[in-house]
Symmetry: C3
Subunit: 154 residues, 3 copies
């Protein structure tokens, strides 16, 4: 069995950002020499996600608007009444932020989008469908964050 | 290390459908000859999910009603005020649908249910709990969709 | 390729509970002798989840409050109007509970938090970020529940 480990570091300009990494994952697979196997792509932080979706700006804007309602930030006015009610104590602050952070919402967004994906490798290539692109999704950026890529197979 | 890849194609009659595939996954494991390992079951489309749950119609109806509130379709009236507020611009249309599609909600449902599961293989069998059945969950059917099953192990 | 399978059994005192299991997963990796590989940590029940997050009580309280709004229990008063509207038939009972159970919400919480994670193993250690702890998250406890840990690699 072969294996290979790569790390990527992100330091996004924006607080929230979608970074396409399909090619980076394929390069890790190429380096590994694995022809048949699996590759795990997993954020090493709990305020980011890894998402497989269409590389289409409309989906990203829709998703961010929706995530800001479902898992509302406390550093901006709630988007609407649903968002207000989904804040702790219906409009209050996250308990997690008592230590001075303001990323309580990013932890819930990590939970919703999931921190990782596992991708199949077939004949040396990521075995993805036609619209599947891999994204690192940052919810609390402007600081250094890491992601691990672990390839195993033969 | 052994590996085996199978693909399944779905073309559901309904727009949304739960298709039980536990036996198909077991058959891919049987074909692989793997006795100890992992099997990845992953939708190759971004408007479907893979779900492990009880094969009980009540759960499926509960879940679909709930998903239609949390990730509301724009092709039907919102179920209630929460659903209306969770649509883009509080009752508007998905930006993704500017290209003529009407499956914006299916992308969010894919995110919520997750596109994949990884199952353990022990002594040649899927190592599942007593109520765990594997489902392909279609959110935008009536067209040809694919799923990949990747088995690795010894 | 090496492999190793461990099972953990939980019987929590509380209906809902976060149980930290990072060390248990590391011990399974140690036993396996795997230096480079993957470990799957997966609930064998559909009313529990596996979550990687900060071991910080504020996050856990925030998350449980939020989950009780998004995926409301029917065995207590809805937390607020959003929770009420997210119940089946806007304040009604889960269809799944017609058989006498009262854990309809736990199935939706399992869906939201996801039942499993896959962790990378590098040089014999779980390759986790600085704040990543692994939790079994019980949503319908006070009964015997199982989790499977499957290690594969070299």
């Amino acid at each position: 069995m072969k294996s290979h480990t790569d790390y990527m570091t992100f330091n996004t300009d924006q607080r929230r950002e979608f970074v396409r990494i399909t090619q980076n994952v394929q390069e890790a697979v190429d380096t590994s020499g694995v022809r048949e196997g699996l590759v795990l792509v997993s954020a090493m932080h709990i305020t980011a996600g890894v998402w497989v979706n269409d590389d289409e700006p409309g989906i990203q804007a829709d998703t961010l608007e929706w995530l800001d309602k479902i898992a509302p930030p406390s550093w901006q006015e709630p988007s609407n009444d649903v968002a207000r009610q989904l804040l702790p104590q219906d409009g209050g602050d996250y308990r997690h932020q008592r230590g001075g952070e303001d990323n309580g919402d990013a932890h819930l967004k990590n939970l919703l989008t999931h921190q990782q994906v596992v991708l199949p490798i077939t004949e040396g290539k990521l075995d993805l469908g036609p619209w599947q692109a891999v994204f690192y999704v940052e919810f609390d950026g402007r600081r250094s964050k890491r992601l691990v890529i672990k390839v195993i197979g033969d």
